[in-house]
């Protein structure tokens, strides 16, 4: 059938046996090595490497913004206002783009799983071990990341510390892999590199078609998901776990008032307490009497979705000045909710003193709904959504 096809279609490709037994494993058929070559692996590998590098750096920065370690000073920058939105959007988009790239890369190198003999030397054993670590961490990182964005947790460990730790292992094993393979990568870097030229020339058209299709796959997964954080693509947001138009008051939420145990009864007689050198408390009506600011700021979640909105409320720095807070003070913000990992939030002075940071009372011109933090919530530029504390009960100058 192959031969007949060639005659009819005028195909110039070399004849090729359909199946080939492996040396030493004659009963295990594997496809002949078409496109399972170093040039294909290099061409896919550098896209994948770039995607994983973006994913690692953006993820690392976002992680330290959400969980500031003790050694990080009270000085994370509050600008640019869209910084966290961009970083976390890129983190999720690059991880999503890496899915087809990783699967294609593994397809290209799959026959190497069956090299014979399996272990030639100590060095070879170590190299294979490092590749096993690379493959395992890459698969599990992308899998856990993708499922986390859909709030699906089938594994028996806690997501954040494991995703964080494996990111380091993945990046380290990737760096080691690139170092080990550097001569091969160099030899196949370009179409006219010596290694590439030594490969069958008739594979080049096929390889370009494969790489083109892979580029199309990356484009397709990006345009059908990136709209959850990138407004121009929101109409094509078909497969992302969030859609910017869906949610109370037109804005997605994560923790609802019901989940947080906050309702009309809880907020009855609510007063905002501000504790500092000159402590005071204000009712909602008294807060409404204070000078109100309008700001346009995004809510950006670690899961990758984000949406900009117009917030109206009182500047945090005005509230702190009234309490006599020193300009460099850390601020502790406590929510009405009874429990929850982010019930208490600590705000560096860089955010607290930013004129965009508000104790918001209104969202897009309407009173805040309970799900968005009624009676009052924090909205600050360049911060993860979980630190935009809802149902604020108390500000403390530390």
């Amino acid at each position: 059938m192959e031969a007949a096809g060639r005659g009819v279609m005028g195909d110039m490709k070399r004849p090729r046996p359909p199946l080939r037994g492996l040396r030493g494993l004659p009963c295990f058929p594997v496809l002949s090595g078409r496109l399972h070559d170093a040039r294909t692996a290099t061409a896919i590998g550098r896209w994948l490497g770039a995607a994983l590098a973006v994913c690692f750096v953006t993820g690392l920065v976002s992680h330290y913004e959400q969980h500031p370690p003790a050694w990080l000073p009270n000085s994370l920058p509050s600008r640019p206002a869209w910084g966290y939105r961009l970083r976390q959007g890129l983190h999720v988009a690059s991880g999503t783009a890496a899915v087809p790239l990783l699967l294609a890369k593994l397809w290209a190198v799959y026959p190497r799983l069956f090299v014979w003999p399996p272990l030639r030397s100590v060095r070879h054993a170590l190299e294979r071990l490092s590749v096993a670590v690379l493959v395992a961490t890459a698969l599990l990182e992308l899998f856990t990341g993708l499922l986390n964005a859909a709030q699906w947790y089938p594994w028996p460990f806690s997501f954040v510390p494991v995703h964080f730790a494996l990111a380091w292992v993945l990046t380290g094993s990737l760096l080691l892999h690139v170092a080990v393979k550097a001569p091969e990568i160099r030899a196949h870097w370009r179409r006219r590199s010596p290694g590439t030229l030594s490969l069958p020339a008739e594979d080049a058209v096929d390889r370009r078609a494969l790489l083109g299709a892979l580029g199309a796959a990356v484009g397709a997964v990006t345009v059908t998901t990136a709209g959850q954080s990138f407004p121009p693509l929101s109409r094509l947001d078909l497969l992302a776990p969030r859609h910017p138009g869906h949610g109370p008051q037109g804005l997605p939420v994560n923790r609802t008032a019901a989940l947080a145990g906050v309702n009309a009864q809880t907020v009855q007689g609510w007063r905002l307490r501000v504790d500092g050198p000159r402590p005071y408390a204000l009712s909602l009506d008294e807060l409404r009497e204070l000078p109100q600011e309008d700001v346009e700021l995004p809510i950006a979640c670690v899961e990758g979705w984000s949406k900009s909105a117009r917030w109206t409320g009182v500047r945090i720095r005005d509230l702190l000045d009234r309490a006599g807070a020193p300009p460099g003070a850390l601020i502790r913000v406590t929510s009405l909710e009874r429990h929850g990992a982010y019930r208490v939030m600590v705000m560096p002075h860089t955010y607290a003193r930013d004129p965009l940071t508000l104790l918001a009372l209104r969202l897009n011109g309407e009173e805040l709904s309970f799900d968005h933090g009624h009676p009052a919530r924090i909205i600050a530029p360049n911060r993860p959504g979980v630190l935009q504390t809802k149902w604020v009960a108390r500000l403390e100058v530390l």
Binding site: V30, A132, A136, P241
Partner: protein, 132 residues
């Protein structure tokens, strides 16, 4: 340079293992190791052989490059859509997974096939004969 990169890689791997065992929230490593091994077994034992089998079948078709490209885009989209399509259990609220993902998946599959057919037809038309 190579040696520096290799050593840096080993150090970063060490940071990861240290972070897992002694970091801010220390984890029992064995479930993680089991899931890492499971990911490799599922991929190398099921996903990759299936892909190779499909790829092998596709090389026997006319216009195999276009067919392969179309299947690759469909597979990439399906892999990325897997969690939104199959996540079990109730959602935390109505703004989580708010779309009709089954319908959307069918739409993107159909569009991909149409684009594939269009590309294949364009090539055939340009060359005056089917291209393999």
């Amino acid at each position: 340079m190579r040696v520096t990169a290799g050593v840096a890689g080993v150090v970063l791997m060490g940071v990861g293992v240290w972070s897992l065992l002694y970091g801010a929230a220390p984890q029992d490593p064995w479930p993680v190791v089991r899931w890492l091994a499971g990911a490799v077994v599922v991929h190398d034992g099921i996903v990759a052989p299936l892909t190779l089998a499909v790829g092998w079948a596709v090389t026997r078709l006319p216009a195999r490059r276009v067919v392969r490209g179309t299947l690759l885009v469909m597979a990439g989209l399906t892999a990325v859509a897997y969690p939104v399509l199959f996540r079990p259990g109730p959602r935390q609220n109505a703004s989580v997974l708010p779309l009709d993902y089954g319908r959307n998946w069918a739409v993107v599959m159909a569009v991909t096939v149409l684009v594939g057919v269009g590309v294949g037809w364009l090539r055939w038309w340009r060359r005056g004969r089917p291209r393999r």
